[in-house]
């Protein structure tokens, strides 16, 4: 009698709703990008009608058309801000707002949220910088590392002032986006990361690997490979335990440790067959990751300013008009 009962991990929202193939993911992003561009042009045309200066509008529309972002440019821009999550995490840790033991989870959840967000959105509507901050803030709540909004804003403002400007980021900039973000996450907030399985593997391997000191070094190296894996799309293709093991293999290769004896002694050969292929792919993708450089990000950001969708831009005339039409208090913001 075979057990037809599903294992617990299949009930997680991550498994049920956030798995893709590389192709389906690419197709979704391409379709969103196409639709997003349509909406930008539509929004600019609508704004032209609200605007007093028709010639300006023509120029704006043309400028936008010449600076539209491709799906891969969208990805590159988002990737840059994903890297920023790490920087912010360290800042908050330094300021004592984030406990060291919570850093990995908050960081990984924030990155995961941002990536998921852009499976259901385009940067034309929501530029990644603000989304990144909101996802980070949401992650501190979700991962039981809550920071009060005033405390959260303070380091951001002091950094802005240090750069010689005024304190621009306000509470509303982050809080107003909370709903947009959580909607795009389909209200599914539990994200699972490779850190826990990696620790588990480290313990399990001890009975099979002779050199305990080397194994410990390998485990420590694994952490950085896991950090790298977060930026890739691996979390949408494979399970966290598989990614952890792939990271372990990469670290083991660096330190000249063979963890194959562990695998072959612990698991059935039939299962290992497909696992090896998966692990190869994971190692491949992590090693070949290409982080976006700051110049490229700036370049894309500049293009984005020209092709941002006015319908979703709180500073645009169109947005303000729509809000006024609905009879609500218009959103006033001095920030960019």
């Amino acid at each position: 009698m075979s057990s037809e009962k599903p294992p617990l991990f299949k009930q997680t929202s991550q498994y049920r709703d956030w798995r893709f193939t590389p192709e389906s993911l690419a197709q979704q992003r391409a379709a969103n990008n196409k639709k997003g561009i349509e909406r930008v042009l539509q929004g600019l045309r609508e704004e032209a009608q609200v605007d007093d200066d028709p010639s300006m509008s023509e120029t704006r529309i043309n400028e936008a058309k010449n600076n539209l972002l491709t799906p891969s440019e969208e990805l590159e821009l988002v990737d840059y801000y994903l890297q920023m999550v790490h920087v912010y995490a360290l800042t908050y840790k330094r300021n004592g707002l984030l406990k060291p033991d919570a850093v990995n989870n908050v960081k990984a959840t924030a990155i995961n949220f941002i990536k998921r967000f852009y499976i259901h959105n385009v940067v034309f509507d929501y530029p990644p910088k603000s989304i990144m901050l909101t996802c980070f803030y949401l992650a501190t709540k979700v991962e039981n590392a809550f920071v009060k909004i005033d405390d959260f804003i303070r380091p951001l403002q002091s950094a802005e002032m240090k750069r010689g400007g005024k304190a621009q980021t306000k509470n509303e900039d982050i809080l107003d986006l909370e709903f947009v973000v959580i909607q795009s996450l389909q209200f599914e907030l539990a994200a699972h990361h490779p850190y826990r399985p990696a620790y588990g593997f480290y313990l399990d391997m001890q009975a099979y690997i002779e050199d305990k000191g080397l194994l410990k070094e390998v485990y420590e190296k694994t952490q950085s490979y896991i950090d790298q894996s977060l930026y890739t799309d691996l979390v949408f293709f494979y399970q966290p335990s598989q990614i952890a093991l792939g990271a372990f293999k990469l670290a083991a290769k660096d330190k000249d440790l063979d963890i194959d004896p562990y695998l072959t002694q612990c698991f059935e050969a039939r299962l290992l067959e497909s696992l090896y292929t998966i692990l190869d792919d994971i190692q491949d993708i992590v090693s070949n990751r290409n982080p976006t450089a700051v110049d490229k990000a700036r370049e894309i950001d500049r293009k984005l300013i020209l092709c941002r969708n006015p319908e979703k831009n709180p500073n645009s005339k169109l947005y303000k008009k729509k809000v006024a039409d609905q009879g609500e208090v218009p959103y006033q913001s001095d920030s960019e």
């Binding site: 617990l8 009930q11 997680t12 929202s13 389906s24 197709q27 979704q28 391409a30 379709a31 969103n32 196409k34 639709k35 997003g36 406990k99 033991d101 919570a102 967000f117 499976i119 259901h120 959105n121 385009v122 509507d125 803030y137 949401l138 709540k141 979700v142 039981n144 590392a145 809550f146 009060k148 909004i149 982050i174 809080l175 909370e178 709903f179 947009v180 959580i182 909607q183 795009s184 996450l185 389909q186 209200f187 599914e188 907030l189 539990a190 826990r196």
Partner: protein
């Protein structure tokens, strides 16, 4: 091959919202309003819990986040089903399965008679739901009869996950200020900042006792008093019995009470029931029985068999409404007094849970942000039960 269509978050949300229509209000509190609703296409009755977010200084309320996060991951016949979630303007709407009564109402309803087999059935369903949560490494942290809802087919379901959080990562500290006082485990009262499912089991033990006594078992008047109440009822534990007890933050000296003869108070309870109850109310959390082991205890496989859910006694609709109304009236005045302030504590994540709201919600529909299940005393006694917001 069909071309992939663009999918945007706001569109998904609008579509979800359009699937349901609100019908009538079931209850209201400062935290949420609960409506009875319907899935337009299938006609399925649901409860729609609208959580008001607008007046929170720090944005989305922790309680709402905890509840949504937990329920999305749990699918079990004895855990309330989160059917859908959508947001409307600045409100979060949880579409939950519709459950019209709860264990508190059942216990209080004088006209209802229950048999040992009934108690066994409720305990079994509650423990199954809890076991599932613990297997998913989730603590409920607010178990009480009020939060054990009962469906029309008799199935009992855990509800109100507004205090739930995951456990297992020993490096992450947690707040000890959790669980409604009468059901709070001793290690929490002694200030433990990391704990396990044992705290939920303690609450289950209290619920078990309450089912047997038809009255709350350990009703302390304040947090300090609660420990004394426990020790008087169960005897003061020794360091031998509970090693490390003195190492817990608040582990100061207590009066020594003797361990009483439980069969005196729990007359009519079968021996195996008492044994299991005592295992659930063991002081040392390491030795306290787990949910899985409790289900495997002979109590559940011994005769009598647990009553089949459909045959369990349940209150009539009018009686339920009466009890609910009592609760609401006592609370409304107090809720007006309490300001909704930002009461998140400094270094942990215990969000300010408006303990007032939801008494009515719980009585008639799926879990609101429930306050304490009070005893039969005067209104002010009920108010004392709430967890005081951290200063």
């Amino acid at each position: 091959m069909t071309a992939t269509e663009a999918v945007f978050g706001e569109d998904i949300n609008k579509e979800t919202e359009s699937l349901y229509k609100k019908q009538r209000k079931l209850g209201e509190g400062t935290y949420a309003v609960v409506y009875q609703g319907q899935h337009i296409k299938t006609g399925r009755t649901v409860a729609i819990k609208k959580i008001k977010v607008g007046n929170m200084r720090s944005g989305l309320d922790m309680s709402a986040i905890r509840e949504v996060k937990a329920l999305q991951e749990l699918r079990h016949p004895n855990v309330i089903e989160l059917v859908d979630v959508f947001s409307h303007k600045t409100n979060l709407n949880l579409v939950l399965e519709y459950l019209d009564t709860d264990l508190e109402i059942v216990i209080k309803e004088k006209n209802l008679v229950f048999m040992p087999a009934d108690i066994k059935s409720w305990m079994m369903m509650a423990l199954r739901g809890l076991d599932h949560c613990h297997k998913c490494w989730l603590l409920h942290r607010d178990l009480k009869p009020n939060n054990l809802l009962i469906a029309s087919d008799g199935q009992l379901k855990l509800a109100d996950f507004g205090l739930a959080r995951d456990f297992g990562d020993v490096k992450r500290a947690m707040t000890s200020n959790t669980v409604t006082r009468w059901y709070r485990a001793p290690e929490l009262l002694l200030g433990a900042t990391n704990y396990t499912g044992a705290i939920d089991i303690w609450a289950m033990g209290c619920i078990f006792a309450e089912l047997l006594l038809r009255a709350p078992y350990l009703p302390g008047d304040s947090d300090i008093e609660q420990l004394t109440t426990i020790f008087k009822a169960r005897g003061t534990p020794t360091e031998e019995e509970w090693p490390g007890m003195s190492k817990l933050p608040a582990g100061f000296k207590f009066d020594k009470y003797p361990r009483p003869q439980f069969s005196d108070l729990f007359q009519g309870a079968s021996e195996d029931a008492l044994v299991l109850m005592n295992l659930m109310l063991t002081f040392n959390p390491t030795n306290r029985i787990s949910a899985g082991d409790a289900l495997r205890h002979p109590y559940f496989s011994n005769m009598p068999r647990p009553t089949k859910p459909a045959k369990l006694s349940r209150p009539k609709k009018e009686q339920a409404a009466e009890i609910a109304a009592d609760g609401e009236m006592a609370n409304n005045e107090d809720s007006r007094k309490r300001q909704f302030k930002d009461a998140f504590s400094d270094d942990d994540v215990f969000g300010s849970r408006p303990m007032i709201a939801g008494q009515a919600n719980n009585a008639t529909a799926a879990g609101g942000g429930g306050g304490g299940g009070g005893g039969d005393g005067p209104a002010n006694k009920r108010m004392d039960m709430r967890i005081s917001s951290p200063a």
